[in-house]
Structure formats: structure tokens, C-alpha cells
């Protein structure tokens, strides 16, 4: 972390080395909590964190637009299965990536949302409905966060993702880290616990070393 004064403003950035070591630290905590985060190596050799999370909303937010062909005969019907989604509940798959932004020297959150069984990601408008839902209990204003959302290709897989643009991260982190009063501060964890909830990332208290 760097604290350097630029025209009276504190700049709070994170070097890649710091990001990498904090990501490792984060992943260890995640592993001990079975929280599903994995550390992966991107094609440029840089690390990023990755997690898939399944979520079944209490009510049907988006009816699944079936996009498929006619029934085909493949022999007998399997009478010994009970489909899990026969009650009409749709499960959604959230893919999260935490990558390092070289230009802004901060972590950046990339994500996509899918209906279970559908490969095409939801549109931003559909995702927004979720974020309203997620943000509400925290008094978070989805609009504030979404003002920084953009579309970017995943640095490793090249697949388009939604990304929270890192242009405001430094300012937010300066505010946050200064207001924390415990010794051991993990930039990555502080940041993710601030922006994560609105996209459905819940973080256990055990992530916070001071608690």
C-alpha cells in the first residue's frame, strides 16, 4: 500500500506483488472456510482469484426463455429420476473474478451471471435486478455502484465480462482504510467486502483478521 500526497490527496494503490500475496492470503482463508475461491494463473502469468457461486432466488426473477429443439426419441423415459427444479425454481450461476488492474494499481472485480444450464450470460438489465435485491439489506445503493460498471474481456479467457471499473477504487479505499482502527489491514479483503455484497458476494467475519 502506498500513501503519497498528490495535490493534497492521499493516493491508495496496491502493487501487483502486494495484490498477489494478499490474494494468496485471501485464498488460504477461503480454503479454510470452504468458500470456493481459487487462485488461478492468467495467460500473462499474473494471478487472479476465481469463484463460482450458485444461487436460487426466493422468487422467480427471470423466467427461463427456453431456446431449444424438439423432443427426440432416445429410447425409454427414465422413471427413476426426480428433477430438482420441478418446482419451477431457477438456479443462477455467478462467476466472479478478481484481477489486478495494471493501469489503476488496484484490484478489479469481473463477473458474469448465467441461468443454470444456459451458457449465455444474463444481460446487464437482468443482473441489475439481482443487485437491487442483494444491496437492499445492506442499505447499498445499486445505482452508485453500477455507475462504474463496464464490459471488459476477461484477461485470461477472453470472454466478455461485466467489470466494476477501478477508477474509483483508490478513492474509496483511502476512505475505508483510514476509518479502520485495527492493525492488520488486508486491502483486498477490505475492498471485496465493500463492493462484493452488491453482486452477491457474502464474506464471513473470519476473513477479517482482527475479528
Amino acid at each position: 500500500m502506498e500513501f503519497s500526497g498528490v495535490s493534497g490527496m492521499l493516493i491508495m494503490s496496491l502493487s501487483y506483488e502486494e495484490f498477489s500475496s494478499q490474494a494468496r492470503e485471501f485464498q488460504e482463508i477461503a480454503e479454510s472456510l470452504d468458500d470456493g475461491w481459487r487462485l488461478k494463473g492468467a495467460s500473462d502469468g499474473k494471478h487472479y482469484l476465481y469463484k463460482t457461486q450458485y444461487y436460487t432466488p426466493p422468487q422467480v426473477l427471470n423466467p427461463c426463455n427456453a431456446d431449444c429443439s424438439r423432443e427426440q426419441s432416445v429410447g425409454a423415459t427414465d422413471s427413476q429420476v426426480r428433477e430438482s427444479h420441478e418446482d419451477g425454481q431457477q438456479t443462477f450461476v455467478w462467476e466472479y473474478n478478481i484481477v489486478y488492474s495494471v493501469s489503476y494499481e488496484v484490484p478489479a472485480l469481473y463477473f458474469n451471471v448465467f441461468k443454470l444450464g444456459c451458457a449465455a450470460p444474463l444481460s446487464l438489465d437482468e443482473v441489475w435486478d439481482f443487485c437491487r435485491l442483494f444491496g437492499a439489506p445492506f442499505g447499498m445503493n445499486a445505482e452508485d455502484l453500477w455507475s462504474t460498471v463496464t464490459q471488459q474481456e476477461h484477461p485470461s479467457t477472453g470472454v466478455p465480462n461485466f467489470a466494476l471499473h477501478p477508477c474509483n477504487t483508490q478513492r474509496m479505499m483511502q476512505h475505508l482504510l483510514n476509518s479502520l482502527h485495527f492493525e492488520k489491514k488486508n486491502y483486498l479483503i477490505t475492498w471485496l467486502s465493500s463492493v462484493g455484497p452488491i453482486v452477491g458476494i457474502r464474506m464471513a467475519n473470519a476473513y477479517c483478521p482482527a475479528l
Binding site: Q72, R82, S84, T91, P121, T157, V159
Partner: protein, 663 residues
């Protein structure tokens, strides 16, 4: 030590939760790549794998296929693997017509062979396979696919469910810890009921029904069903067990190793011995699609992979940012759906088109009859030097092509057409071409929502002004002076604002300082056209967003007819994009900027009722007279009469001296 509960309880049919395949974007991305660079036209099966977990906390049992699914080495201790074969077909026909039943049977027969030979006792991973049949339409980015998890049905007498109980009813935390430790990462295990030691799976050839638990990693979280992987394991057990019938207790591992699979269930099951020689075995395992039918699925990934769609999305997203960040009430669709007709593809036409692109407008039509000349590319932002070759490419065509290069997703049309003008006499030979030109122009105006007058002469604006008024279109007009510009919208019957010609003839409100700007003058300071084009486009956007649209009154509307105007309808600063002035005039040399409003003029040569009704009655004949007879329009509208009155007044005023009246 048998199982008293399960033997006493009534038996029920045993049921499974099938896998739900989750084949993600990354996998299809990878497959496209593999198809293009590696597989090409080869249809041979490709090894890959899916993964499943036992701690998803959702009802579905997910078999996940992702970007490392082709990577044999990739692995993770928390997930279990389903090995399998990908059969990627080269055409939709071979995908549709391939014998799916046979595929399933072949795969299941291999599994049965592995059960019989004992290979699956040594490696129970051989029991569960995934088949993925696919066809990748790389042009449309459509992926057709169908997954199968081969199995064979034990009928309801061959296996029956006794009871399902939570693991905590039977095992203490301590024993669960020992269980979790001894099972480790294995998908299947036989665990001693008292010591919790693990024994080789092959020990099922002995009677272990009372002494051992069958343990398996269960991707399902159902209260009543076991997960799919157990199915073939029970088949194997039914084949190898020594007795004709046995009762087993199966621990379905659910939850996490850290909490010693606290959500696990114990299923008691009664199995009848099988030999696979029995008649009537039914093979199953194809996944149902979203409709709940046995059929393939289609993943339409054009909006993820098609660069055209991606570009369109990126443009739209950029605009949405503006909506979210600054103007939440912005109705972007209203703007992007406007069909815009650009009359003139010169400096103004090029620049207006680029501004409209920025607003996400998707349908633009250029009309011009010029060719790109050597001096054009430097100022006219859509043209290049190459467009000037061979006598010059038609401007409308070149501009449309350039726009298409910038944003291929656009619907861009062009028409090479000369707009007939008053004062430009039509010879007898030209009557038909001119009639066609008029019809074409009128049709274009009818088909579009907004007409931009970006022409270089005053008289060329007359016909489209008249037609725009006749069809009640949004007409936006820009004209350039050397260091000044006018950007204006034409009025409507409702807002009573003037058109270009109303204003021109009576002059703008501040007529002493501000003369008309165009006067055929295309010699302008280079930046002026950019300014005019951007002011005009923003005026267009403001107007489209305005609650009264084209009828909007400017904020500083004249008050002469205050009684007739509903004051509440006046523009308020709360409009999404702010004020919608009638005219914007700028004088660069003085950095002077004004937004005058002028009224509709009852004797206007372009939009007055007499002109419109005369065109309605006589149509093209009227136009011919307007084109051919210099004073026709003035006479028709009464302007001439007014001018004569003015002249008479001059005569009276000057009447004192006869000398002054001599020619």
C-alpha cells in the same frame, strides 16, 4: 448387525437426482478455438471432463464443464471428476441424425464391461461418464449440445429405498470426523461401520451389507433422492454382491470436509442380485432440456462472441452509463430507435452522422448528389483520399460505407439524389426525372422520424422543409457562415415556431445584428461545422427526450399568444437533457451565443397553410411552377403583396421629390 429400521419400514422406489449440466461460456470459447485450430473437420471423440461438488447448497446436482475441462492435469481437491467424451459434429444434420441411442448404449456397455471385469472395482471412476454431443455453428455462434450420463435402470423390485435419515442420527461428530478423514477425496468408498476404516471397493464381493457403509460423494441436496453417481455404483454392487438380496446403508456425503460432511444423509437400500443377462435392460441418461423434454439445447452465444454484437453492446452500455450516472430518466431507446434522414453528406452530414452514432442511433440514411472531391476529405470527416479517385465516389455512398466501417451493426442507407429547387428551372426533358426525385424524397421523409437539413444552399432546403411540415416530421436544420452557425428545429402547428424560411424572410428576432448565415457560403472556419453538427445533434436528442417531443416549447418562448399557450406545457429546466431552444446561433469571432425563438409566419414560402394546401391539391404541378416561376411562391403566399405594400409605403415616404422616383 443388520438394519432393523430399514427392514421394518415399508419399501419405496429408489429415486435419483439427475445431473444438470452447466456448460459455461469459457468451454464454448475453448471449443471454438479447438475446432478452428485443432479438430478442424475431425469428428473423433475428444476426451474431456466435467466436475461436481457436494457443497453447493442448491437443489440441482450440477455437472460443471468449463474452460479447463479439456485439461487433463487441472484438478482441485474439492471437486469430483466425471471423465467423458465430446463428440463435436461438423454439421447440424450429422448432429441431428447421429444415432443417440446407440451412443448411449455403447458407452453403457463399456461401463457394464468394466463392472463385469472388475476394472470398476479397482477404479470406481470408470462407472460414471459424461457424453457431450455438440455442433458448433461458428458463423452464428450457436452451439447445439446434448449431454448424457449413461446408466441402466434397476427396476423397482431390483432396488428399493428403505429410509432416509440425517447422518447425525446415526454417527457422532467424532465418527463423522473419522469417516471424512478415511474417505478423503474419493468419490466412492466402503467404510467399516465400527472402526470407520476404509476397505477396498472390491471387498463388496463378500457380504459386507451389515458391516460396511457404502459412501459416495453426493452432488444432490435432495431430502428424498440420492445423487446420480450412486446409480452405477449400486449396479456394480448388485452385480458383485454374493447374496441374492441384501440391505445396504449408503452414506451420501454432503457438506464440506471441514465440517465433516454435516449435511450427509443415510439411505437404506435393498438390492436384488443382477447378472446383466436379464432381458429388458433399459439404458438411460440423456439430459432433459429447458422444456423438460429429452432433446438438445441451444446456446446462442452471439452476444458474447460475435464482434458485431459485442460492438453494439459496448455502444449501448456506454450510453447506459450516462443514464445511470447522470440522467436516470434518459430514455435511450427513444433516441436509438429514431430513423434519421441526413440530407447532405458534406461537412455537416458527416459530423452529424458521427454524433448520432454516439447516441446509439441505429438507422441513418444519407442523401446527396455530389461526389467526393479532392478538397473534401480534409474537412468532411467520413471521407478518405481514396474516395476522391476516379472522379470521386458518390458522397452519400462513401459516407454510408465509412459509417458502416466504423460501426458494422448500423442500418445505413444512401440515395444519390439531387433535390429540386425553386428558381432552378426544370426543362421539359427533365420533368420526369424531377418528378421521380420528388417522389423519392417524399417517400424517404415519410419513412424517417427525423430529417436533418445539412445542405449547402438555401433553396435546396425549401422542398424538404415543405415536405417535413406536410408530414409533421421532426426537422433539424443547420447552416454555416464563415465564423457563425445556425442550428435550429422547425416548428410545428402546435408550438407555432417557425421554419427556416419563416425566419429567413421575416428575419430572426434580432435582425439588425444577425443576418442569415448560409447564403451559399461554404467557406467557413473549419471548427464551425463540428460545432453546428454537435449542437444540432444535441438539440435533436433533447427534443426526442422532451415530454412534448417535437412540439416542445422553448424555455424562453415568446409570450404574444400567451392565452393560447398552456403555460404548464412550457419547457422546464427539469427536462432530462435540459432546454430545447428553437434556434441556436453562434458568432465565433465575438464568442457570442444566442438562442432566439421565432414564430411561424403565415406567409412563409415553405410551411404556410397556402403552400401546404396548394401542394396537397395540385401536387407536382404546383412544385413545377414553384421551381420554374421566380415569383410564384411569393405571389401564392401573399408575400409579394406585402412587399408591394412596403414599396408603396416607401413611395409615400419618398413622395416629396419626383426626381427620386426616376429609374
Amino acid at each position: 448387525m443388520s438394519v432393523p429400521e430399514s427392514t421394518e419400514a415399508p419399501m419405496e422406489p429408489f429415486r435419483y437426482t439427475p445431473f444438470s449440466s452447466q456448460i459455461d461460456l469459457h468451454f464454448w470459447h475453448k471449443l471454438s478455438d479447438k475446432k478452428l485450430h485443432e479438430l478442424k473437420l475431425c469428428e473423433d471423440p475428444v476426451e474431456f471432463h466435467a466436475e461436481y461438488e457436494v457443497n453447493l447448497n442448491i437443489k440441482d446436482a450440477v455437472a460443471c464443464v468449463s474452460y479447463d475441462s479439456f485439461d487433463v492435469s487441472a484438478g482441485n481437491s474439492r471437486v469430483y471428476r466425471l471423465a467423458g467424451k465430446l463428440l463435436n459434429k461438423n454439421s447440424i444434420e450429422t448432429f441431428k441424425n447421429c444415432d443417440k441411442k446407440n451412443l448411449l448404449e455403447t458407452s453403457m456397455n463399456e461401463i457394464i464391461a468394466n463392472i463385469k471385469s472388475g476394472a470398476a472395482l479397482e477404479d470406481p471412476n470408470l462407472l460414471n461418464r459424461i457424453l457431450l454431443l455438440s455442433y458448433a455453428d461458428m458463423k452464428k455462434y450457436f452451439f447445439y449440445y446434448w449431454c448424457a450420463f449413461p446408466s441402466a435402470m434397476l427396476n423397482d423390485t431390483q432396488h428399493q429405498l428403505g429410509s432416509v435419515i440425517p447422518v447425525s442420527d446415526r454417527l457422532s461428530d467424532q465418527n463423522r470426523e473419522r469417516l471424512a478423514k478415511n474417505v478423503g477425496n474419493l468419490p466412492f468408498a466402503l467404510i467399516n461401520k465400527t472402526t470407520f476404516e476404509r476397505c477396498p471397493v472390491s471387498k463388496m464381493k463378500d457380504d459386507i451389507s451389515g458391516t460396511h457403509y457404502i459412501v459416495f460423494a453426493d452432488p444432490s441436496s435432495s431430502e428424498t433422492n440420492a445423487g446420480w453417481p450412486l446409480r452405477n455404483f449400486l449396479l456394480m454392487t448388485a452385480y458383485h454382491m454374493p447374496n441374492e438380496t441384501s440391505d445396504f446403508e449408503v452414506i451420501a456425503l454432503r457438506g464440506t470436509p471441514r465440517t465433516f460432511f454435516e449435511k450427509s444423509k443415510i439411505f437404506s437400500v435393498r438390492l436384488l442380485k443382477v447378472t446383466f443377462e436379464e432381458p429388458g435392460w433399459i439404458y438411460v441418461g440423456y439430459e432433459r432440456n429447458e422444456k423438460g423434454q429429452y432433446g438438445p439445447r441451444l446456446a446462442n452465444l452471439s452476444h458474447c462472441f460475435d464482434p458485431l454484437v459485442l460492438a453494439q453492446n459496448a455502444v449501448d452500455l456506454n450510453l447506459k452509463l450516462m443514464k445511470w450516472r447522470l440522467a436516470p430518466d434518459l430514455k435511450l431507446k427513444q433516441i436509438s430507435e429514431m430513423k434519421c434522414l441526413l440530407l447532405g453528406a458534406g461537412t455537416l452530414g458527416c459530423n452529424v452522422a458521427r454524433c448520432l452514432l454516439g447516441w446509439g442511433v441505429k438507422q441513418i440514411t444519407f442523401l446527396d448528389n455530389g461526389k467526393v472531391s479532392l478538397s473534401n476529405p480534409a474537412r468532411q470527416s467520413l471521407f478518405k483520399f481514396a474516395d476522391t479517385h476516379n472522379g470521386g465516389r458518390p458522397k452519400a455512398e462513401a459516407a454510408a460505407a465509412a459509417l458502416k466501417d466504423i460501426h458494422p451493426g448500423l442500418n445505413v442507407q444512401y440515395t444519390d439524389l439531387k433535390i429540386p429547387m425553386p428558381g432552378h428551372a426544370v426543362s421539359a426533358n427533365d420533368v420526369e426525372p424531377v418528378r421521380e426525385a420528388v417522389e423519392k424524397l417524399e417517400k424517404l421523409i415519410e419513412e424517417h422520424d427525423a430529417v436533418f437539413l445539412l445542405l449547402d444552399t438555401r433553396e435546396a432546403r425549401w422542398l424538404p422543409t415543405m415536405l417535413g411540415a406536410r408530414h409533421d416530421k421532426m426537422v433539424l436544420n443547420a447552416a454555416l457562415g464563415f465564423d457563425s452557425f445556425l442550428a435550429m428545429r422547425h416548428g410545428t402547428l402546435k408550438n407555432k415556431l417557425g421554419c427556416y424560411f419563416c425566419n429567413d424572410i421575416v428575419g430572426p428576432m434580432n435582425s439588425t445584428k444577425d443576418r442569415t448565415l448560409d447564403q451559399q457560403c461554404t467557406v467557413t472556419r473549419p471548427g464551425v461545422s463540428f460545432m453546428a453538427a454537435s449542437f444540432l445533434t444535441e438539440l435533436f436528442a433533447t427534443l426526442v427526450q422532451h415530454e412534448h417531443g417535437n412540439d416542445a416549447l422553448p424555455d424562453n418562448a415568446f409570450n404574444d399568444d400567451a392565452d393560447e399557450l398552456d403555460r404548464n406545457e412550457r419547457d422546464s429546466p427539469n427536462n432530462v437533457l435540459g432546454l430545447a431552444p428553437h434556434q441556436i446561433r453562434m458568432f465565433l469571432s465575438r464568442l457570442h451565443f444566442m438562442t432566439p425563438n421565432t414564430q411561424r409566419f403565415s406567409m412563409c414560402t415553405a410551411c404556410s397553410p397556402s403552400v401546404l394546401s396548394e401542394y396537397g391539391n395540385s401536387g407536382f404541378e404546383f412544385l413545377l411552377r414553384a421551381f420554374n416561376e421566380p415569383d410564384f411562391l411569393e405571389e401564392l403566399t401573399g408575400l409579394k403583396e406585402m412587399q408591394r405594400m412596403v414599396d408603396d409605403m416607401d413611395v409615400l415616404a419618398l413622395g416629396d421629390s419626383d426626381n427620386d422616383l426616376s429609374p
